[in-house]
């Protein structure tokens, strides 16, 4: 049994040294033995820079073989990786890296703004100075590194990725145990600051091992890697494929947004296992021209992160009739905790499929507001316990106390998702009580959008609401109270792009001089919702969100 995630790679490198492990979008590849050698060398280099047990290392790189190498090397050095979107607004990235106090950052030059403040120098080949404080090591591009001394914070000369690997340093023993942190994934926080979900090797191993028993991967499989590494769907792609000696086909950020190229990619690479959000599958369906390609190699299609509107799922199955389809459910905090095999969608079905039955590594219970178990068929909050449930949020004692319930000696995580249970279908998702929504599989706290809008000094009131949308699942509308010479919609869109990830930017802005208030002088969300419903007659849609992220 593997003690940590790196052992999957080590074992595969021994068993299948010459099989292909990772293929990048251009078709370049590494065998298991080559990948392991790179990982080992980079881990030794990191260790020589002072990175070790208990440290965090930021990864703000595009998806390449270098970033895959970095993830494993960080864990091999005993540290936990903190992946962030290298295209994320600099301010948000910086907040994350500062929050968890990374010792080292791997960073693409395009993301140099995410580096924590107050540093003494460096960066980018021949480019401008960039502020770096705590970082011990900065990688630009995947190709050239810039190294900062971890003790004196004085910047050394840049060295290349190859040089770093060649420099390596003394051999190190594997340092991570099952209970050590493997990675921290940041999700939207209602107070405006993203919160870090801490996941241990044990959390990930138990999920990966469950995947082995259900999907029966082999060394003949070819996995898609569509989800970025800061999104928890990537855990399945990377570690299940590496564990089983299969090929991992990396989909870059650019390719991932281009449905025509993506449809060709699935066919050309003869992928056997696809995993993404329903949004991406819907894009492939609508813009990919799927019928032009032979995708008969696909044997499994997995989706998670949000409700898959059945009309799109039915249509997808017409284009891709052969594979088995699975709906996976679970917040980042629990990893996947329930699953359902989705049959061929009948023509007359219009309601989404259930999230199904508990995975082997989880236990679940549905409780009401008073913590009493809800009877079969009744609605309540889903609580999850088990080996895949996270350790807690990084440095958030208040949220941690609220997230867990001690019940009969077991620690249960409150997913915040309302569900019903019946023995035939398992769990059915029915909504949320709080202000968390899912869009394109990503989790969004509406409060985080409000906090970002308040950073525009002309905004005196901000109230963000979500409304169901039959095509995209959810639309986000921002109501703003601004003086008469307030921002234009173009300016607001531009402002959001600088302060929020693209998936959080509101679909619509409604600017008023003053927002309605309740008798207790709070913004009156109910009136705003009604005003929207009157302006735009509602289209019926079931739940807005489902899983993952």
């Amino acid at each position: 049994m593997a003690e940590n995630l790196v052992e999957y790679l080590k074992n595969s490198a021994e068993r299948w040294p010459d099989r292909t492990a990772v293929v990048d979008p251009s078709g370049s590849s590494l065998t298991f033995s080559q990948l392991w050698q790179q990982v080992d060398a980079l881990a030794r280099f990191l260790a020589a820079q002072g990175v070790g047990h208990g440290d965090r290392v930021g990864v703000a790189l595009p998806k390449t073989m270098a970033s895959v190498t970095a993830l494993f090397a960080i864990m091999q050095a005993g540290a936990a990786y903190v992946p962030i979107d290298f295209t994320t607004p600099a301010e948000r990235g910086k907040r994350i890296l500062t929050d968890c106090n990374v010792r080292v950052v791997f960073v693409d030059p395009r993301a140099s703004g995410v580096l924590p403040d107050g540093a003494t120098g460096i960066l980018a080949s021949g480019a401008e100075e960039s502020p770096i404080k705590r970082s011990g090591l900065v990688v630009q591009d995947p190709i050239s590194f810039v190294v900062q001394d971890p003790i004196s914070f004085v910047v050394q000369d840049p060295i290349s990725f190859e040089q770093a690997i060649a420099t390596a340093g003394p051999a190190i023993e594997a340092r991570a145990g099952r209970d050590d942190l493997a990675y921290i994934l940041y999700t939207s926080g209602s107070t405006g600051v993203p919160k870090g979900v801490m996941l241990s090797h044990e959390n990930a191993l138990s999920f990966v091992d469950w995947c082995s028993t259900v999907f029966h991967p082999t060394e003949e499989d070819r996995f898609s890697s569509h989800a970025p590494f800061h999104f928890d769907l990537s855990v399945l792609d990377v570690y299940v494929s590496i564990k089983h000696g299969a090929e991992l086909h990396l989909i870059s950020e650019e390719l991932g947004k281009n449905p025509k190229e993506l449809a060709r990619f699935v066919a050309d690479r003869r992928l056997t296992i696809w995993y993404s959000t329903p949004s991406i599958l819907t894009l492939l369906l609508q813009f990919g021209g799927l019928d032009a390609y032979d995708s008969s190699s696909l044997r499994i299609v997995l989706f998670a992160g949000e409700v898959f509107p059945v009309k799109h799922l039915r249509e997808l199955q017409r284009h891709w009739p052969l594979p088995d389809y699975y709906n996976l459910y679970g917040p980042t905090e629990t990893n996947v905790c329930t699953f359902a095999r989705v049959p061929r969608v009948p023509d007359d079905r219009d309601h989404p499929y259930p999230i199904g039955f508990l995975c082997g590594h989880c236990d679940g219970v549905v409780l009401d507001d008073e913590g009493r178990e809800v009877a079969e068929g009744g609605e309540g909050l889903l609580y999850i316990a088990g080996s895949s449930v996270f350790e807690g949020y990084w440095n958030r004692p208040v949220e941690n106390a609220a997230a867990f319930l001690d019940r009969q000696g077991t620690r249960w995580y409150n997913t915040g998702d309302l569900v019903r249970w019946n023995p035939a279908e398992g769990y059915t998702y029915s909504g949320r009580k709080d202000r968390m929504v899912k869009r394109r599989g990503f989790r969004i706290e509406l409060g985080e959008i409000e906090r970002a809008l308040y950073r525009d000094s002309r905004v005196s009131q901000a109230a963000v609401i979500s409304v169901p949308d039959p095509d995209t699942g959810v639309r986000i509308v921002a109501f703003l109270g601004c003086p008469a010479d307030g921002p234009t919609i173009v300016e607001l869109k531009t402002f959001c792009a600088k302060h929020l990830p693209a998936y959080m930017s509101p679909d619509r802005f409604v600017v008023k001089n003053e927002l309605p208030r309740t008798s207790t002088d709070k913004v009156d969300y109910q009136t705003l919702k009604r005003s929207l419903a009157e302006a735009e007659p509602a289209t019926p849609l079931p739940a807005t969100a489902e899983a993952g992220g």
Binding site: K260, L283, F287, V490, K493, A502, V510
Partner: protein, 86 residues
Amino acid sequence: MDDLKNRVRLFILERYLAGERPENLTDRTPLQTSGILDSLAVLAVVTFVEKECGVQFTALDTTPDQFDSLDDIARLVAGKARVVGA
């Protein structure tokens, strides 16, 4: 071409800038680099222009540095039309 720009302008205003005054979306307003259009919106605009003009764009045509304003879109379409006409 002004007619095309206006049709695309209306499409963008209606879908992504509801409530905005048309004069605030100029021929030169950056669309992708400003964040007005995200990658999904770009796909929809590309599809709209392809249908309206009977042209096909490649992935390289629609990168943020090529396809960033109504002026850019008109220029790209004019270039495609010349190729077709040649």
